[in-house]
């Protein structure tokens, strides 16, 4: 029972092509039948009304580039970035949404990439720490972290910087107290908080 429902991904697989995603497009076909003129709507339904099973090709838009990868639905956005796209700047700390090391932006909003599935983020604009700098020109938040020594071991730093950029953009870094509160989802075991705060506040004050 268990092995039928939840096959071990390491076990030998039957013909791989037969395992490729099957799609139920009932919703799309129904939509087309009921409303023939609404082609755009039908296309939308066809695109969305589907079931994905096993390793399937998905396309993610990361740092302005479309990237196609073959993953199971259970792969988190964090694992897709790190293990499949080699974007290892985004860190895995707790893997349970408690530390913030995995913070990325999706459509401009900061989220914990460990608690969302990569398949759920198709069609969205994903920005990771690798996408902040313009060529050799660091993002002002990256520069501020260097200037204020906002880290020791550096493991939480990509998450801190991504969170800091969003925090300033949201308008939540207006005072020290506000910035502390709105940066509280990013833990730093080294305790570099004072310097992280200085970096975030400096960028906020520069506008």
């Amino acid at each position: 029972m268990q092995s039928d429902l939840f096959p071990d991904s390491d076990a030998p697989q039957p013909d791989d092509s037969s395992r490729r995603s099957f799609m139920k497009q009932a919703g799309g076909i129904l939509g087309l039948a009921l409303a023939p003129p609404l082609v755009a709507q039908a296309e939308r339904l066809t695109a969305y009304s589907k079931t994905i099973e096993g390793a399937t090709e998905v396309t993610l838009r990361v740092n302005g580039q479309a990237r196609t990868l073959r993953i199971e639905p259970r792969v988190t956005l964090l694992d897709a970035l790190r293990e499949y796209l080699d974007l290892t700047g985004t860190k895995k700390g707790c893997d349970h949404g408690q530390c913030g090391a995995c913070t990325v932006h999706v459509d401009g909003r900061r989220i914990n990439s460990c608690l969302t599935l990569a398949v759920m983020q198709q069609g969205k604009e994903i920005t990771t720490i690798e996408g902040l700098a313009q060529g050799e020109q660091l993002h002002p938040m990256q520069e501020a972290f260097i200037k204020h020594d906002g880290f020791q071991c550096g493991y939480c730093t990509p998450g801190q910087i991504m969170s800091g950029v969003a925090c300033v953009k949201e308008g939540h870094a207006g005072t020290d107290a506000q910035a502390r509160e709105w940066m509280s989802g990013n833990l730093c075991r080294c305790g570099a908080y004072a310097n992280i705060l200085a970096a975030v506040r400096e960028v906020a004050q520069r506008g």
Binding site: L5, F6, P7, S9, K24, G27, R44, L45, Y48, S49, K50, T51, I52, E53, G54, E72, P73, R74, T76, D95, H96, G97, G100, T103, R109, R110, I111, N112, C114, L115, T116, L117, V119, M120, S163, A166, C167, E170, H172, R180, E181, W182, M183, S184, G185, N186
Partner: protein, 327 residues
Amino acid sequence: MNNFSYTQATTAKEATRQRKDEPTAAYIAGGTTLLDLMKANLEEHAQLIDINLLPFKGVEQTKDGLRIGAMERMNDVGEHALVRELFPAVSESLLLAASPQLRNMASIGGNILQRTRCGYFRDAAFPCNKRVPGSGCPALQGDNHNLAILGTSEACIATAYPGDLAVALTAFDAVLTLENPKGKQRRVPVTEFYLLPGTTPQRETVLEPGELIVAVTLPLTAHARRSTYLKVRERASYAYALASAAVGLDVQSGTIRAARVALGGVGTRPWRSPEAEKVLTGAPATEATFRAAAAAALQGAQPREHNRYKVELAQNTLVRALQQVAG
């Protein structure tokens, strides 16, 4: 995390139909609770049905009050001008919860269904009546410092809902709109949505299999406008409540005309206190009244070895919250 199939639903009908076809399926919105539990192998689902495209959106005034779509995100609702103005306690409960990142992800419906932080529930190596009915409750004699003192049973003392929003919703008579797989909607007051553990702690809400939360509606009142949510934690931010209070008062000429009180962090469900409200209603808005109300709210408390501190902490939290809104 077990392997599963993934379906993106565009309508409630499609989502509930998928759920009916696969009884072990679960809906996924923000995923912040569900994936956390699945990674810990505390929940297994053969299919996840993505409901993010469902049109349960918007924050708007209706004839029944302020209606909040279940797919709205915690940060958006917490920062919404109407919520801030009409229900300060609801706004505060949202913005004091979790972290900014999690609040950007978590939906209102999902937050209402957030599951307990009891350490024994969350560790599959231990028995737990909530997880495996009849297996026992190590928390009764074990580490219970963050567990409930009100509404407990011999089967379970977990604060089944560990969050904040539902505490405020419980105080201000919110009503949930639910939709079942037949497409039929029903309305359930939040005060009747969560179940006491009794002998069946595995049943936490009245939600039927496959039923979806569509919206939350809050009636507009004077006491809700003059409200607050006070949360006491082990650290300044990003932690669950040890005790919290959602309170609203309608005070005229120093006399309390109407009062609403709910407590978080102390009950096996978001804890409305009609006992405290009875003491407050018609009484002068003074510290003596607030102290009496707090004593009434905690009168039935049944603390255990490590959570005795919660009796006094909850009372002081409630008194301070009442002082804040009384101004």
